[in-house]
Structure formats: structure tokens, C-alpha cells
């Protein structure tokens, strides 16, 4: 803890983790709102517009917190990771610059229209604003994921004479295969979050016996979208992401799985505790051959363990990396089961079972946990590298910034974000308790 690097990492990790609570909800809801508005316009049915109006209010709050917690991340490239920015700005400056010009302006220009403009500007422009916000937030996601993908799997660059990275192939960098797969996986994760929240609110209203129309619509839409997104986040996107890691970061795969010894017919650990000092997994429950199949498509394939790599290249935090990965996969599996069961029962029975509604209502925090665990897997798995194979994390921080400064700002963020988080929960709680706002009685 005496090392300034520790505080730089903790500050970025903390602010990024807190931030991502909001965009995953915003991106998921923006998609569902655009669908609602589209159906409302096409079918001329007010119930879709009523549903959209409620979720736009939630989106407005979530978007505001997402913006103010996102700006510090962009700034921290310069404040905390100055050597990394100098080294790689010639490449990643492209995507970060494009995010401002193409995504932020689009989102900010149409958010006001979406939140305040339904009555004033009519259904067509309001639908357009919903689509624009969906496009802007999903575009923003791409530029960020493409930047992260460069850190995971650098392509399209050249090393210049002054020792910095420069752009060699614009499209090679922007269309990094890693970026495309990680983006699809991330976006499906965001839709999982959005649809679980929609389903939870629907379930709550049904259980309470209030707002019967909107409750049924939200429940149906949330479960349907939740089932599709939960399936897509696993297959094909999660599967492809796993194969990408196996191919380009075999060491990370070994650490994610807590696999210390190399060999064929690698099993997938359902549970177990990595004992890094002893180089073994304690109390493992293993599905034989599954890891070989997931990584290489054959149950007998050879999968390298940590022993195949020099220890100074091992990820620095194997334990949290291992748990993050397993929490993500475990929750993702449960999501498919829950939404599959819900879709089946809701389809069969006109009166939904109360126990299932209770589960759906209480399930909404878990996609946030799964998405966070997914990012933890990605970023902890990249260690000890900041730019995979090119720059170590310890070489990227701002050298002249001292611990006294970083701890001060970290504590400031913790205080500010605690207040923001409480206010956010309070405001969302008020909206859910208040219920949908019908158009004829807008107030």
C-alpha cells in the first residue's frame, strides 16, 4: 500500500466499477425503450408509449449518473496513467476522440428531446429521439470496448522511433476482431441487465396488484428480452470470447480456471478455491473435459496450465480473477434457467405463479454483479500487462503524482459516489413506487 501504483489501480478500478452500474442499465433500457416506442408508433397502441414513458424517466436518472461518473474515467487516462497515454495515445486517441464526436454529441442532443419532448414534438420525433439515444449509447460502448480490446489484443499499430505506438492501420485497429466479439458479448450483458430490471418492476407491480396493464406488459417484455439476451450472452458471444482468450491469452485462461498443471482432457471447475502458494485448487468439483471443449472444441484437447509459463508473467491477482470468472459463468447459467422457466410458465398459465414473481423481482441485482464480474475477469486477466505483451501496468502510471494526491482523490470519489449511489436508489425507488405516468394526466 506504500506503492503509488496500488492507489492508481484502486482508484481506476473503483471509479470504473461504480460507473459501469449505470451504462449497462442505460444501454439495456435504451434498446427496450426504442422497441417500445417503435411498437407504439406501428400499432398505435398507447400502452407501449406508457411503458416507454416510465422507463424514460428511469433512463434519465441513470443516464445523468452515468455521464458524471464516466467523465472521471476519461480524465484519469491523463491524470493517473500519463505514461500509458503518452505511449499509446497515437492509437487509442482515435477511438476516444471518435467517441466524443460521434457518440456523446448524439446522446446529449437527443436526451433532452426524449425526456421532455414527447408532448411538444409529437410521436415521430419522439421515436427518432429514442432511436438516436439507443444508437448513441451503443456506439459509445463500441468505442470504449474497441479501446479496451486494443489493451487486450493490440493490433493495427507500429512502434515509432521515439518509442511510442502510432497508428498503422485505422480499420485494422477499429475493427479489431477482439473488439467485435467483446462488444457483442458486453451489449448482450447490458440487455440482460435492462430486461431483468424491467421484469422485476413488472413482477413487483403484479405482486402488489397495482397497475395491472403496465405490470403485465413489463413482465412479458422483460422475460422475453431477458431470455433471448441471456441465451445470446452465453452462445455464441460468450463462447467466442472464451475461445479468443484461449487462443491469445492462454495464461489468462489457466488463471481464470485455477488450472495449475497442463494436460489433456481439462475439466471445468464448478467450485473450488485456488491455493496459489501451493499451486493447486482446493476442494474442486470438476466437469471432466469441459474446459478443453469450451476452449478448443474437443473434449481431449490439451490445455496449458499456469506451470507452462514463467511466474513473473502470471496475473497478479489470481484469486479474484478466478472467482470473477466463475461468478459470471455461474450467474449466466442461472439467468438462462430462470428466464427459460419464466417464459414457459408465463406462456402456459394465464395467472403467473407468485413464487416465480418473487424470484423475478429479487433477481434484478444479479445481472449487475455478473456484468461487473465479467469486466473484472477481462481486466484482472490482462495483468500484469496494461497493454498485453507491450507495456506492464507498473510502467504506465503517472510517476510524479504522489500517493498523497491519489489517496485524497480516491477518498473524495468514495464519498461522492456513496452519496450519488444512495440518491440514485432513492430516486429510482420513488419512480417505481409512483408507477407509470399516463399521457393524458402528465404532471
Amino acid at each position: 500500500m506504500g506503492d503509488p501504483l496500488f492507489w492508481h489501480r484502486l482508484q481506476f478500478g473503483f471509479t470504473a466499477t461504480f460507473h459501469y452500474i449505470f451504462p449497462q442499465l442505460t444501454m439495456g433500457l435504451a434498446f427496450l425503450i426504442a422497441v417500445f416506442k417503435g411498437l407504439g408508433l406501428r400499432q398505435g397502441n398507447e400502452r407501449f408509449n406508457d411503458a416507454a414513458r416510465f422507463w424514460i424517466r428511469i433512463l434519465g436518472i441513470s443516464f445523468a449518473v452515468g455521464v458524471v461518473t464516466g467523465i472521471p474515467l476519461e480524465f484519469q487516462f491523463g491524470t493517473d496513467w500519463a505514461r500509458f497515454s503518452t505511449y499509446s495515445g497515437g492509437v487509442i486517441g482515435q477511438t476516444l476522440g471518435m467517441e466524443g464526436m460521434f457518440a456523446f454529441f448524439l446522446e446529449s442532443s437527443f436526451l433532452g428531446l426524449l425526456v421532455w419532448g414527447e408532448k411538444r414534438f409529437g410521436p415521430r420525433l419522439h421515436f427518432l429521439a429514442a432511436v438516436a439515444l439507443f444508437a448513441g449509447s451503443w456506439l459509445s460502448g463500441y468505442f470504449i470496448v474497441a479501446t479496451d480490446a486494443f489493451m487486450q489484443h493490440p493490433v493495427g499499430y507500429a512502434l515509432a522511433a521515439n518509442g511510442t505506438l502510432q497508428l498503422a492501420s485505422f480499420w485494422g485497429f477499429v475493427l479489431n476482431p477482439w473488439a467485435i466479439i467483446q462488444y457483442l458479448h458486453t451489449m448482450m450483458g447490458a440487455v440482460v441487465t435492462g430486461s431483468f430490471v424491467v421484469a422485476a418492476v413488472g413482477a413487483y407491480w403484479v405482486l402488489r396488484g397495482i397497475h395491472p396493464g403496465p405490470a403485465a406488459l413489463n413482465l412479458k417484455a422483460g422475460v422475453l428480452a431477458g431470455l433471448v439476451a441471456s441465451l445470446l450472452v452465453a452462445m455464441p458471444t460468450g463462447d467466442l470470447q472464451g475461445k479468443l482468450v484461449a487462443r491469445h491469452q492462454p495464461l489468462t485462461l489457466a488463471a481464470m480456471e485455477g488450472r495449475f498443471q497442463s494436460g489433456p482432457r481439462a475439466g471445468m471447475n464448478v467450485i473450488g478455491q485456488p491455493n496459489v502458494a501451493a499451486h493447486r485448487l482446493d476442494n474442486p468439483i470438476r466437469l471432466p473435459g469441459v474446459l478443453s471443449f469450451i476452449a478448443y472444441g474437443s473434449f481431449s484437447a490439451d490445455v496449458k496450465g499456469l506451470d507452462a509459463f514463467p511466474q513473473d508473467q502470471w496475473p497478479t491477482s489470481i484469486e479474484p480473477l478466478y472467482y470473477s470468472f466463475h461468478i459470471m459463468v455461474g450467474l449466466g447459467t442461472l439467468f438462462i434457467a430462470l428466464m427459460g422457466l419464466s417464459a414457459l410458465l408465463l406462456h402456459k398459465a394465464l395467472q403467473p405463479q407468485r413464487w416465480l414473481l418473487w424470484i423475478l423481482m429479487l433477481a434484478f441485482p444479479f445481472p449487475f454483479i455478473a456484468n461487473t464480474a465479467g469486466w473484472m475477469t477481462t481486466e484482472l486477466g490482462r495483468q500484469p500487462w496494461l497493454l498485453y505483451g507491450l507495456m506492464r501496468t507498473s510502467e504506465g502510471s503517472s510517476q510524479l503524482v504522489h500517493g498523497g494526491e491519489t489517496v485524497f482523490t480516491l477518498l473524495g470519489f468514495m464519498g461522492l459516489y456513496l452519496v450519488l449511489g444512495l440518491l440514485f436508489l432513492m430516486l429510482i425507488g420513488r419512480e417505481v413506487a409512483h408507477g407509470p405516468v399516463p399521457s393524458h394526466n402528465e404532471h
Binding site: V68, P72, F75, G100, G112, A160, Q166, F170, L427, H443
Partner: protein, 348 residues
């Protein structure tokens, strides 16, 4: 190409100052010119559809700088470390105060966020103005191209320098008063009734103070940064900027006298644009000046990325810029005319 990107970044910073400048001004003034809840909401409705997009000019300008001059961004942001985070926290509080206020009808809730909105809107121009002062005065860049300075030392403008000293506080106050006057011009144009009347009453004293502070800051710059002052004398672009901001200042006074509020607002916008353009032309090509050794300056030439990146960037930036102009034209058109206090729930 480096020169083009130097001006792209400068223009984006200038647009940011004009656009978010009137949001800051409205935030500072609203406690005084808007007394009832209806009047406060009238002020918020005037900036409501715009402020978020205005703020993006700062982010996009930062993005352009990251793309073209990553070394300047890395050195400046890490060097002004604490001030950068104060800016971040104020931006966060400003955004939250505007968005959260309308969600709860309680009187105390609204009074609290109004105060947060005003305090953040006062601190931001001071900090951003001090940042400009620091760039003009110079910072102790070492041979590696990095520095790190505390918020303040002994308030003299010599080494060891702090982010705040008498000179940078002066530029901070100049920016604060200018943007307050700019906000008054904007609100006088966009509102009516008592809010407009109070803005008009405040406008002339505010702009009188701007003129005095501008003269003081110009004299101080000649003393603190003689090199910049010489750069100004030798640069035709700086002279052009000077003509623009002096004409803008005249238009402000003329506009307020003749009750042509749009003219006054355009004049204050021209004053801000011209002043920043003159400053940028005077420091060119230096982006961060070293107080230790002129060889260690970070310039548009030694801190830019390779030509391929600048060229690719210019292609997408030009396309993006045209699209953005379209958005703003749309917003100003959709929300044209005077704002009146909207019914509860329909606006801020």
C-alpha cells in the same frame, strides 16, 4: 497538420467556453435573478436542452487533444492533478444538481440543489480560468516532459509555482466575471419578465468589471509572461483575435443599451472567442511552457502523434463536426424563442 490540429483543439475549447459558459453564468446568476420556483425553472428550461451537449465540447476537445497531442494531455492532466479532480467533482455536482432537482417537489430538496448548482458553477470558471493562466505563465516541465505542482505555494508567479497564484487567480476571476456577464446576456435573450429585467440590471456593471479585469490581466500577462506578450505582438492572427474581442465588447455595451439582446449575446460570445483565439495565437506553437528550460517546452510539433494518425483523425473529425453542427442547429431551432416557466413535470 500539427498546426491544423492545434487550431482544432483551440477552436473546440473556445466553443466549449462560449457554450458551457452561458450555463455557468446561468448557474451563478440564478440564485439572484430567479427568486421563485417558477423563475428558477425558467432559468433551467433556458439551458436545460443544451447544457449536456455544451459540456460534450469539453470532452470532445479533450478527446481531440488525446488523439493529436497525447503527451500534452498526459503531462498537463497529471501535472495539475488535484485541480483536475476539483474540476471533475464540480462537473459531477453541476450535472447532478440540474437533473435531480426536478424529480422531487420538496422545497428543501430544491433549495439544496439550487445552492449546489450555483457553487459548482462559480468554482468551475475560476478553475478553468486558472488553468488558462497556468498555460500562459508556464509550469516546471522537466527533461522528461512531466511536472506535478500543488494547488498553491506562496502565491507568487515564480518557482516553485502552484496552480493558484496571484496571476492565475486574476485570470480565474476574469473568466468568472466574464461568464457571469455572458450568462446575463444569454438569459436576457432567452427569458422575459422579472428574470430578464434583473439580468439586464446586472449586465452593465458586470461588463464594466470585465473591462477593468481584462485590462489588469493584460498588463499582468506582459509582466508574468513577456514571451507570450511578444508572441501576441508578432502574430497577425492574434491581432485578428484582438479586433474580434474588442468589437465583441463594444457590441455587448451597444446591445444592452439598444435593448438588442441577441446582439449583446453574440457580442459576449465574440469577446470570449476572440480572447481565446488571441491567446492561442500568442502561445503558438507552445502548448505547455517550461519555466525551467525553453528546450523542455511541449509544442504542437514535438508532442504530436505521427502524420498518419493526424490525417485519419482529420477525416473522421470533419465528418463528425458537420454532424454536430446539424445537431446544434436542430436544438436551437426546436427550442427557439423565449422560454417561459413550463407547467410542473414538463420541464425542469
Amino acid at each position: 497538420m500539427e498546426m491544423l490540429w492545434f487550431w482544432i483543439v483551440s477552436v473546440m475549447v473556445a466553443i466549449y467556453s462560449v457554450m458551457d459558459g452561458f450555463d455557468f453564468g446561468a448557474g451563478i446568476l440564478h440564485l439572484f435573478v430567479a427568486r421563485s420556483n417558477e423563475e428558477r425553472r425558467q432559468v433551467l428550461a433556458a439551458i436545460g436542452p443544451l447544457w449536456d451537449g455544451n459540456e460534450v465540447w469539453l470532452l470532445a476537445g479533450g478527446g481531440a487533444m488525446f488523439m493529436a497531442f497525447p503527451k500534452v494531455l498526459a503531462s498537463g492532466f497529471s501535472g495539475f492533478y488535484l485541480a483536475m479532480f476539483l474540476v471533475l467533482w464540480c462537473l459531477a455536482l453541476r450535472g447532478i444538481s440540474i437533473e435531480f432537482r426536478s424529480h422531487v417537489g420538496d422545497v428543501m430538496w430544491r433549495a439544496f440543489w439550487d445552492l449546489v448548482f450555483a457553487v459548482a458553477s462559480i468554482l468551475l470558471p475560476v478553475l478553468l480560468g486558472a488553468a488558462i493562466g497556468n498555460v500562459i505563465r508556464g509550469v516546471p516541465l522537466d527533461a522528461t516532459g512531466y511536472f506535478n505542482i500543488p494547488l498553491f505555494t506562496d502565491f507568487t508567479a515564480g518557482n516553485p509555482v502552484g496552480i493558484l497564484d496571484w496571476y492565475t487567480v486574476l485570470t480565474g476571476v476574469l473568466v468568472l466575471v466574464t461568464l457571469t456577464g455572458h450568462g446575463a446576456a444569454f438569459l436576457a435573450w432567452k427569458t422575459d419578465g422579472p428574470v430578464q429585467a434583473r439580468c439586464l440590471k446586472a449586465a452593465l456593471p458586470l461588463w464594466g468589471a470585465v473591462a477593468v479585469l481584462w485590462a489588469a490581466a493584460t498588463l499582468a500577462t506582459a509582466q508574468v509572461a513577456p514571451a507570450v506578450f511578444q508572441g501576441w505582438a508578432q502574430s497577425p492572427l492574434a491581432w485578428l483575435g484582438t479586433v474580434i474581442y474588442l468589437a465583441g465588447l463594444a457590441a455587448v455595451f451597444l446591445g444592452f443599451r439598444a435593448r438588442k439582446h441577441l446582439l449583446a449575446f453574440l457580442g459576449s460570445s465574440a469577446f470570449i472567442l476572440g480572447l481565446l483565439a488571441a491567446s492561442a495565437a500568442s502561445v503558438w506553437p507552445v502548448m505547455l511552457r517550461s519555466t525551467l528550460n525553453p528546450d523542455w517546452n511541449l509544442t504542437a510539433r514535438n508532442a504530436s502523434v505521427a502524420a498518419a494518425g493526424l490525417q485519419k483523425g482529420f477525416v473522421w473529425w470533419s465528418i463528425g463536426f458537420l454532424i454536430v453542427l446539424g445537431y446544434f442547429a436542430m436544438l436551437f431551432r426546436l427550442f427557439r424563442g423565449k422560454v417561459r416557466a413550463a407547467a410542473e413535470g414538463e420541464g425542469y
